[in-house]
């Protein structure tokens, strides 16, 4: 390297995209602080190879990780939110939806469809936390109900992977009533004796936790996932003291008897297909 290279290198460095735009090739585990090459983390489905901490994973990868190759067929992708209340806070709801559609290339926080999990045909619903915090609104509720109805029609099991801050405030009472809407549909599924497995991922809170996410025949959580009804800040304010370590984490819920199992993401596919097989008697 000569002096000139050094200078051109510097000017090139200036042309580099800013930090926020650049794809980071290194990921730091928020738990053990280990620095890992992104491919390595991706290959492990975003489970830290050093400490098994479960990082958030993109929906597409989640789906390909769970479904047999090329078996996932998305349904109801054309459902779009409207703005029944003309809701405006610091921004309008319409604007927020636009921004989130741009960010995620999706029109809702739910991706739903049919797939095969180790050859078992299943209705799958996956929440995308990147879309408005995975919040539950009319579109999300409708997609879940339609998935339930397809499961009944085709005599299949249903798997919902939740990741949500709760009901979507911008849809107000419409959002609130999605809780009873989805729960009523699950009551119907139960009458048909079809299995519903609820998988709680980080985080599953509020109106989602207090409706379909907690109504699984079997409830599985990912390690370390934050799961609860009330937010930690609200609880802290209410009780006026700090919260115990591990409060509202998956392991805490298991200990309290609120869920059936905590399963490593890399074992999830087998766990789901084994359970579905048993419950469906296949």
């Amino acid at each position: 390297m000569n002096l000139l290279d050094l200078f051109t290198g510097r000017s090139e460095a200036k042309k580099q995209p800013t930090k926020s735009e650049a794809p980071s090739h290194w990921i730091k585990c928020p738990s053990c602080q280990a620095l890992m090459y992104y491919k390595e983390v991706e290959n492990q489905n975003y489970v830290c190879p050093k400490c098994s901490h479960h990082l958030r994973i993109k929906v597409d990868q989640r789906i390909s990780m769970l479904c047999d190759d090329n078996t996932f067929v998305e349904m109801d992708a054309t459902l779009k939110p409207v703005d029944p209340l003309k809701f405006v806070d610091k921004k309008s709801y319409v604007k927020r939806v636009e921004e989130n559609v741009k960010k995620t290339s999706r029109t809702s926080s739910v991706v739903s469809g049919e797939c095969e999990i180790n050859s078992i045909a299943t209705q799958l619903v996956v929440f995308d936390f990147a879309f408005m915090g995975g919040s539950l609104g009319s579109v999300e509720g409708e997609k879940i109900v339609r998935a339930v109805e397809r499961a009944i029609e085709k005599k299949q099991g249903l798997v919902i992977l939740s990741a949500s801050g709760g009901a979507r405030m911008q849809e107000s009472t419409y959002a609130l009533l999605q809780m009873s809407k989805t729960s009523a549909a699950l009551a119907k599924l139960a009458k048909h004796k079809l299995p519903y497995i609820s998988v709680l991922t980080d985080p599953t809170m509020g109106g989602v936790s207090a409706s379909f996410a907690t109504l699984g025949d079997i409830i599985i959580a990912e390690p370390g996932a934050l799961i609860g009804f009330a937010g930690q800040r609200v609880i802290k304010q209410t009780i006026g003291s700090d919260l115990p370590d591990g409060f509202q984490r998956a392991e805490f819920l298991l200990e309290k008897g609120s869920i059936d199992m905590v399963v490593n993401r890399n074992d999830l596919k087998k766990t789901l297909s084994d359970l579905l097989k048993m419950m469906l008697g296949k």
């Binding site: 054309t78 459902l79 779009k80 939110p81 409207v82 029944p84 209340l85 809701f87 405006v88 806070d89 610091k90 009319s138 579109v139 509720g141 409708e142 109900v145 009901a167 979507r168 405030m169 911008q170 849809e171 107000s172 009472t173 419409y174 959002a175 609130l176 009533l177 999605q178 809780m179 009873s180 809407k181 729960s183 009523a184 549909a185 699950l186 009551a187 119907k188 139960a190 009458k191 109106g207 936790s209 207090a210 409706s211 379909f212 907690t214 109504l215 799961i227 609860g228 009804f229 009330a230 937010g231 609200v234 609880i235 209410t238 009780i239 919260l243 115990p244 409060f247 309290k256 008897g257």
Partner: protein
């Protein structure tokens, strides 16, 4: 001592003048004042802002569930406890008679005065409260009693114990079970309908609201803090959330508005109780015309038909 809100001050003045006139046996003056009162009530209450309605819904003189239960129910017995943990006094359950009709009533109960507020946990149920409610609902189903649920809560209690005992499950289970409970059921928002904690006894054949009650996904205070990042935007949040009975009937999210006296339940408890009783009895008559299957199917369609989306 009755409490008057800012916008009720003129009404308070006229009411005091009427009392003075009556004490003086000046019936002519009292008559004139009463007419003036009617005019003032109609002027004030027909033009309430959403924020004023929120204040009325939370008014400390507004009848609570037990006030209605005491006014409406005869030969009543209270049902206690969830049979697992303890009796949650933020929810009360009673069996009794309304106009000779056997009924089960479940209500979220706030308290008056510091001691009672604490006893009732400010109307914020713990999981055992919702589980008690479900037990009462199942009793109603078993013995074919129509079910009246009175909603009045800022929300389900956000506490350590509530989370440990699975508040989420208690609410979710009620949503599922009440959606298919085989008896005629009516849920009435009598004051504050706060989020999932309200909805947990809000799944019924009919979901209705008293004229000055509110029903929302989050408290306007919470919404203001989160979406505006500013705790002082409560009035804006109240408007944006569309929480009044008039808003929600227009959006077709509730079935009816109960014709609470125009002056408000807090000034006419008996009138408000009668309005609830009359509505409930006529709703039950109407629902009895359907077979069990028809009624449950209608409820299912109503519950699963809610949503605003494009396709």
């Amino acid at each position: 001592m009755a409490t008057y809100l800012d916008f009720e001050q003129k009404i308070k003045q006229i009411q005091e003048d009427i009392i003075t006139a009556e004490v003086r046996h000046d019936s002519a003056a009292a008559e004139i004042l009463k007419k003036e009162l009617d005019k003032e009530v109609s002027k004030t209450y027909k033009n309430l802002s959403a924020y004023q309605q929120l204040q009325l819904a939370r008014h400390q003189d507004r009848p609570y569930a037990l006030d209605y239960i005491n006014l409406l129910l005869e030969d009543k017995y209270e049902i206690h406890g969830d049979r697992h943990f303890r009796d949650d006094e933020a929810i009360v359950c009673y069996m009794g008679y309304i106009a000779g009709e056997r009924v089960m009533v479940i209500g979220e109960q706030k308290g008056r005065g510091t001691k009672n507020k604490l006893k009732r946990n400010f109307g914020m149920p713990n999981p055992e409260g919702y589980r008690k409610a479900l037990r009462a609902a199942k009793l109603a189903e078993k013995f074919n009693l129509p079910l009246l649920m009175l909603i009045d809560t800022p929300g389900a209690y956000p506490g350590l114990g509530a989370e440990e005992r699975n508040q989420s499950e208690a609410i979710a289970r009620n949503l599922l079970e009440l959606s298919q409970l085989n008896t005629q059921s009516v849920s009435v928002v009598i004051g504050e309908g706060g989020s999932g904690g309200a909805l947990a006894i809000g799944v019924a054949d009919k979901l209705v609201m008293m004229r000055y009650s509110v029903f929302s996904v989050i408290s306007p205070e919470g919404c203001s803090a989160i979406l505006w990042n500013d705790p002082t935007k409560v009035e804006s949040a109240t408007n944006a959330l569309k929480i009044t009975s008039q808003d929600l009937i227009k959006l077709d999210l509730i079935d009816d508005i109960i014709d609470e006296p125009l002056i408000g339940a807090h000034r006419d408890k008996e009138g408000a109780a009668k309005a609830i009783g009359d509505y409930f009895l006529s709703a039950i008559r109407e629902l009895r015309e359907l077979s069990d299957e028809e009624r449950l199917e209608k409820r299912y369609k109503r519950l699963t038909g809610v949503g605003a989306y494009a396709e």
